[in-house]
Amino acid sequence: MIFEYAPAPESRSVVTLRESYGLFIDGEFTPAESGEHLTSLNPADETKLAQVAVAGPADVDRAVAAARRAHDTVWSRMSGAERGKYLFRIARIIQERSRELAVLESLDNGKPIKETRDVDLPLVAAHFFYYAGWADKLAHAGLGPAPRSLGVAAQVIPWNFPLLMLAWKIAPALATGNTVVLKPAETTPLTALVFAEICQEADLPPGVVNILTGEGGTGRTLVEHPDVDKVAFTGSTEVGRQIARAVAGTDKRLTLELGGKGANIVYDDAAIDQAVEGIVSGIFFNQGHVCCAGSRLLVQESIVDELMPRLKERVAKLRLGDPLDKNTDIGAINSAAQLERIRDLVDSGEAEGAERWSPACDLPENGYWFAPTIFTGVGQAHRVAREEIFGPVLSVLTFRTPEEAVGKANNTPYGLSAGVWTEKGSRMLWTAERLRAGVVWSNTFNKFDPTSPFGGYKESGYGREGGRHGLEAYVG
């Protein structure tokens, strides 16, 4: 029989959206001085969710000044213990409002509720809890006897994990006594604005957290602002380069978490069913909108015929559709622009001779959608093997020996993540040791934890977020 899962939508009623949102500066929502705004869409059906202000230079000035004032007069002078208590309080409110935030994140981003509910939100709260506890223990962090805050942190985050990236940025900055001006991504500003409400609810002193919505220009103005002490950016390698150039010659500290083209290496002795799961979560988690995605599958040639049918059978079971349906595995592509980029790269893969496969998969009529896609017969020279697609597209390559696997895995300007699948411990360690990547998942993939440092080698950026290491970027 065919066991059809009936629609199981999560209720939208937990979310109350305002018609429009201002900028969050000095503890208050305030309109942009220019009066400009942008509209945030639901990528699953292209309906309008809300209008948000576009911050211009004058707004950036105001926000940085508010952050400076808050830093100098309140936040850096407060005891670590008290700062920590604010962060604990924020963590608790996030837990209390987690369903609301999960639904809103799914609406604004297009990712499945299953992920926002079970991955994003628990990690967001955990991140605040983790760094809350550091606030009064910085002297024990191995960063000197009395680490000092840097001042005002300018933070620019991407659209793929809007609230989680916010947590990764704000929690360590606040724990270490810095104040922040954060710019969420243009297409996913809404959960950051609810976070601003949470700051109000937590009675966080005004100016400690400022949220400036806007487009690329807003972010550029912010990171180039002369009164910023620290810049933290997560996003594309191209923008990362621009930022690195912009801060050259200044005293601004910089951390960058950029693109990736992660290799997922499957040896012939791998636990094959778990490897298949890891390949799937490696590339199809969050529609592949993951900088550390395992977008290059490197399979030992001797098991490629055994692995590929299993993989395809498994991919065919992925359920694509309404992000708010609790059974959805693959949600919407975040924006029309991203969909266009995915299509362009996938077309290039076909044009360059790689073999394209997708399961039978009905795409909804409205919204931005892309079926899970696998390319086989891919060579290192193909664009789909070299460029970050940032979508549900897997490129499959083969290797013969461990040396070749490592060689191919490292043969990229990126170096963010990699996976290794083998039941042989010594081979796992041998491989992990040689992979030039900041995170190596062996016999698992796409796992995150606030205690676990995350960040790249080479053109995937520099600095680490998470763990004790994540404090280093925010103290002088």
């Binding site: 955990a126 191995g142 390698t237 990362g240 380069r241 621009q242 690195a244 150039r245 050259a248 010659g249 960058l256 950029l258 300007p413 796992m428 992990a432 992979l435 990547a437 900041g438 995170v439 190596v440 998942w441 062996s442 016999n443 698992t444 796992k447 934890d449 205690t451 676990s452 440092p453 995350f454 960040g455 080698y457 080479k458 053109e459 995937s460 950026g461 520099y462 680490r464 763990g467 290491h469 280093e472």
Partner: protein
């Protein structure tokens, strides 16, 4: 370095040399024995070649006395130095930390053995007093000992197990970033140089070092020490020459992983901008950059010059039966 005469102490030789040079202009004297002068060359991939450009430049002491001609490294020498450093990287970073510590300690031993030579050099080239020269050389020797001890501790200090919320073993450890271009301080040619090079290689990086332009001779002398201390060829590659000429190529080089901008002066910003193109790591000029050898005397610089050239790798593995 100036010509030396048999049996005489170096500082005396220098005085004699100055006098001699003045006299020589008037009445040529026939020496009892003609000293053999050293040709100061580059140190690339374990060998001492001249610049491929065939160029050299005159090196004088701080009071203007001609000391020697040093090789004037070219863009292509810089390119070769990066290639040599890259070639040496996997071997050097793959050695055990213990072994790297042994070799760095060996550097200290060999340097100690040539202590008088370095003291003389510091006095003659930099115009240091004998006491100050001895202090600087001692500190340089001790700096190698210091970093020899760090090689197998830094991973324990900077890394460790992370208590993730789930059935996973999760471990973070520092790893060398790769090829590091070190622009050595301009007016701290021995202790300053040692202080910026030793931490880079202690952790397994390989280095391309651009020495002080005005005072490159100690660097070449040090290269000879390195070459005789079991340090594999290519781990340290030394370029003598001009930062404005070499720097742009090194800063923008796509196979360079990190820059130490200490000796770059006004070029620092331009190099940092060039480095942005491939997200090359950058250690900016610190307060010690122009402070002379005295600025590097702190016997315990900690990890501050190692961490900028380390990557943190985090490895996850499930825990199950």
């Amino acid at each position: 370095m100036a010509e030396r005469r048999g049996g005489k102490k170096a500082d005396k030789a220098d005085k004699a040399d100055k006098g001699g040079a003045a006299q020589a202009a008037r009445t040529p004297a026939v020496p009892a024995r003609l000293a053999v002068r050293k040709t100061y060359k580059l140190y690339l991939g374990g060998a001492f070649p001249r610049s491929e450009s065939g160029r050299s430049y005159a090196v004088t002491s701080t009071d203007g006395t001609h000391l020697a001609n040093a090789a004037l490294a070219s863009r292509k020498d810089a390119r070769d130095a990066v290639a040599a450093a890259r070639k040496a990287f996997s071997g050097w970073s793959g050695r055990t930390a213990y072994n790297r510590g042994q070799i760095l300690y060996r550097v200290a031993e060999v340097l100690e053995g040539r202590r008088d030579q370095f003291v003389a050099r510091a006095a003659s080239a930099q115009g240091l007093t004998r006491v100050r020269a001895e202090e600087v050389v001692s500190a340089a020797i001790d700096r190698w000992v210091y970093y020899a001890g760090w090689t197998d501790k830094v991973a324990q200090v900077l890394g460790g197990a992370n208590p993730v919320s789930g059935p996973y073993y999760n471990h973070s450890a520092p790893e060398p970033t790769g090829v590091v271009v070190v622009f050595a301080p301009q007016n701290a040619p021995l202790l300053g140089l040692t202080s910026v090079v030793a931490p880079v290689i202690a952790t397994g990086n390989t280095a391309v070092v651009v020495s002080s332009e005005a005072a490159p001779l100690a660097a070449v002398d040090l290269a000879e020490v390195l070459a005789t201390s079991d340090l594999p060829g290519g781990v340290v590659n030394l370029l003598t020459g001009r930062v404005p000429e070499l720097g742009p190529h090194l800063a923008a080089h796509a196979d360079v992983n990190a820059l130490d901008l200490t000796g770059t002066g006004e070029d620092a910003t331009a190099f940092e901008e060039a480095a942005a193109q491939t997200l090359t790591r950058v250690l900016r000029r610190g307060p010690d950059a122009d402070g002379g050898e005295e600025a590097w005397l702190d016997p315990d610089p900690g990890t501050s010059r190692m961490t900028p050239f380390l990557e943190t790798k985090t490895v996850w593995h499930p825990i199950g039966v």
